[in-house]
């Protein structure tokens, strides 16, 4: 078990390293650099050179990369050129915003999807399972891009909820500010959570239906164990594996989805920062965003690996 988790931890470290390095390389390969994007084509050659020298863009890729890597090892991720601030100052706030959104959505989706999946999976007939199933298939066809558009439209029409942004921000979480944050969070988090909850519901439903058909469930029922106990205790333990095993991939799905949601609801997360950085060819900021995103991924895969090893010890072998 420990060896397995250690191996997965090494993979997580490699993920962060590879993703941030690759993004640095990609931006270097791109046509144009920060100097051409910020100064425009009318700038004098001398000014261009000066800007390049200022940010170390005139060096070879190997030199630039080596320098960046050496400093990144000390948690100094360079300076954003567009914002003229250290990357390490810019990222945490935005990353925290994305994390708030993604974690809320993940919790909501799990809390809704899994119990509903147990209900539909353990009961073949009836009005409730049929309704849940229909809603689920509908939501499954609405990726976060669509749910956020529809929810923002709903918010704009009713005026019940703010249309975008995140209010005061995560910095001061006291009383009124917290309420404000929650009000701003509802639309983006719901937009992100709805398709995910539908996916969890479908998966859990299938797994539950399969488990219910197993001999041990029949045996428990035959021994006289009450049905609710069989379903919510015995069968559930065995049926949790499929959903747990996709949690690792769900983090990627969440980040993809939260990009669309952040764009539409103007949630100030990593998505917008990354997009602006990419467009401005702001090399170090791109690498910083990629590093932050991959830390989320790594944490997500690690947690899901640990959860899977807990739910199904065979996975660790």
């Amino acid at each position: 078990m420990l060896a397995y988790l250690a191996r997965r931890f090494l993979f997580a470290l490699f993920l962060v390293f590879a993703v941030s390095s690759a993004s640095l390389l990609l931006v270097r390969m791109a046509p144009g650099d920060y100097a051409t994007e910020s100064l425009g084509i009318t700038a004098r050659a001398a000014t261009m050179e000066q800007t390049r020298r200022l940010y170390g863009l005139d060096r070879s890729f190997a030199q630039q990369y080596g320098h960046w890597l050496a400093r990144a090892a000390h948690f100094d991720f360079g300076r954003s050129m567009a914002y003229d601030r250290p990357v390490a100052d810019l990222i945490p706030e935005r990353a925290a915003n994305t994390a708030i959104l993604a974690v809320t959505a993940l919790f909501a989706a799990t809390a809704l999807g899994i119990p509903l999946g147990i209900i539909t999976g353990s009961r073949r007939t009836g009005l409730l399972p049929a309704v849940i199933r229909t809603v689920s298939i509908t939501l499954l066809s609405m990726p976060p891009l669509l749910t956020s558009l529809f929810l923002v439209f709903f918010a704009a029409r009713t005026g019940w909820l703010p249309l975008g942004g995140m209010g005061g921000g995560a910095a001061d979480v006291t009383g009124g500010a917290l309420v404000d944050l929650v009000r701003h969070l509802i639309v983006p988090a719901a937009a992100l959570a709805m398709p995910l909850a539908a996916m969890f519901e479908r998966l859990q439903s299938q797994a539950m239906a399969e488990t219910i058909g197993q001999p041990f469930v029949l045996a428990a029922t035959a021994r006289g164990v009450p049905r609710l106990r069989v379903v919510w205790r015995g069968a559930l333990k065995a049926a949790l594996r499929p959903v747990t095993s996709i949690y690792g991939l769900v983090v990627g799905t969440l980040l993809s989805g939260s990009f669309a949601v952040e764009m539409i609801t103007s949630w100030p997360g990593l998505g917008r920062l990354m997009l602006d950085a990419l467009r401005a060819r702001d090399v170090y900021l791109v690498a910083g965003c990629a590093a932050a995103g991959s830390v989320f991924l790594a944490a997500g895969t690690l947690l899901s690996d640990a959860a899977l090893a807990f739910v199904d010890p065979r996975a660790a072998e």
């Binding site: 990609l26 298939i137 066809s141 669509l146 467009r279």
Partner: protein, 325 residues
């Protein structure tokens, strides 16, 4: 089974709409009516003010508030509809002055319904082309990995697993934004198709590899090899055909993902350039919140996407829900 049939009908409707866009759409994708910016849909009527019955006709829009772009139906005279004329299934009698706007007009005064059909063309062809690219790439990688085994298998599958873990949207975004930002529509199409194919291929290659590995041990594959068939023949003629069912399902799941990816990229300005109608560029035109609160018909590309994705999901329903992305 019922759901599956509904799904086929929904998808077929869009395919027919996209193929026949030139006839079904009353206007071209770039026709614009300067006096009708953000005009609401012109609903076809069959009874006039006096209660008399007519062949379907529409009322002219009269601008009542320039600033808020509010319109009122001019109920004095109806504009009759013309059927099957000039290569169009239906159009207004007075195309230039009071056009038929089934889903209203956008901020440039262009017919949303026509653009929706032409946009379906762009979005569908792009995602189908990308799905085929993903199939070729993923099939080749998975086939080689599964057949060769050993180090090749390890390397190719590690690379595939790595890409699968990454958030697909960010990979596509990064790949797109390192290319020149302003490009010709045709080049954008090819580049987006390649990018989507690369991001989608690992999902196919993983499954293809597993199938090729297990099928390779079966008698028929061994028999073919012992009859003297070369590696490529065994792989191409005997093993890869066994993956057809899997690939068909997987492609049906990739197409919606690609449609949404195109829409997201176009929404943030990295997709198709302006005059081109795609569902993504249409959503971009609606991206200002006030616009779609006041002019809800601008959201119709989102509804269109939902209908198409629902159709595709219903077709593959209960096959492999775990691969939703």
């Amino acid at each position: 089974m019922m759901g599956r049939r509904i799904g086929i009908v929904l998808v077929a409707l869009w395919c027919v709409g996209a193929l026949g866009a030139a006839s079904f759409a009353p206007h071209t994708a770039s026709d614009h009516f300067d006096g009708l910016l953000n005009a609401p849909p012109t609903l076809p009527h069959v009874r006039d003010e006096a209660g008399a019955w007519h062949a379907p006709f529409i009322y002219r829009w009269r601008l009542v508030d320039q600033l808020e772009q509010r319109y009122q139906e001019d109920r004095t005279t109806g504009v009759p509809l013309r059927w099957l004329r000039g290569g169009h299934v239906v159009e207004g009698n007075d195309q230039a002055g009071s056009p038929l706007l089934l889903l209203g007009a956008d901020g440039f005064g262009r017919d949303v319904f026509s653009r929706l059909l032409f946009g379906a063309r762009t979005s569908l062809t792009l995602s189908i082309a990308a799905a085929f690219g993903a199939m070729m790439l993923g099939g080749a990688i998975g086939g080689i990995a599964g057949y060769a085994g050993g180090l090749t298998d390890d390397l190719l599958m590690r690379a595939s697993d790595f890409i699968i873990v990454l958030p697909a949207m960010y990979v596509a975004l990064a790949l797109r934004s390192i290319l020149p930002l302003v490009l010709e529509p045709r080049i954008v199409f090819v580049l987006l198709a390649i990018i989507f194919a690369v991001v989608g291929a690992p999902f196919i290659s993983r499954g293809v590899r597993a199938i090729v590995r297990s099928e390779g041990r079966l008698e028929y594959a061994v028999a073919a090899a012992s009859l003297g068939a070369g590696h490529w023949r065994v792989l191409g003629r005997h093993l890869l055909p066994a993956t057809r069912g899997f690939i068909a399902v997987e492609m049906t799941m990739l197409i919606p993902a690609f449609i949404v990816a195109e829409a997201t990229l176009s929404y943030v300005g990295l997709g198709f350039p302006e005059p081109i109608a795609s569902w993504g560029t249409m959503l971009r035109d609606a991206s200002d919140v006030r616009a779609f609160a006041d002019f809800p018909w601008l959201l119709s590309p989102a509804a269109a996407m939902f209908v198409l994705v629902l159709g595709l999901n219903l077709i593959v329903q209960d096959r492999r829900p775990e691969d939703w992305h």
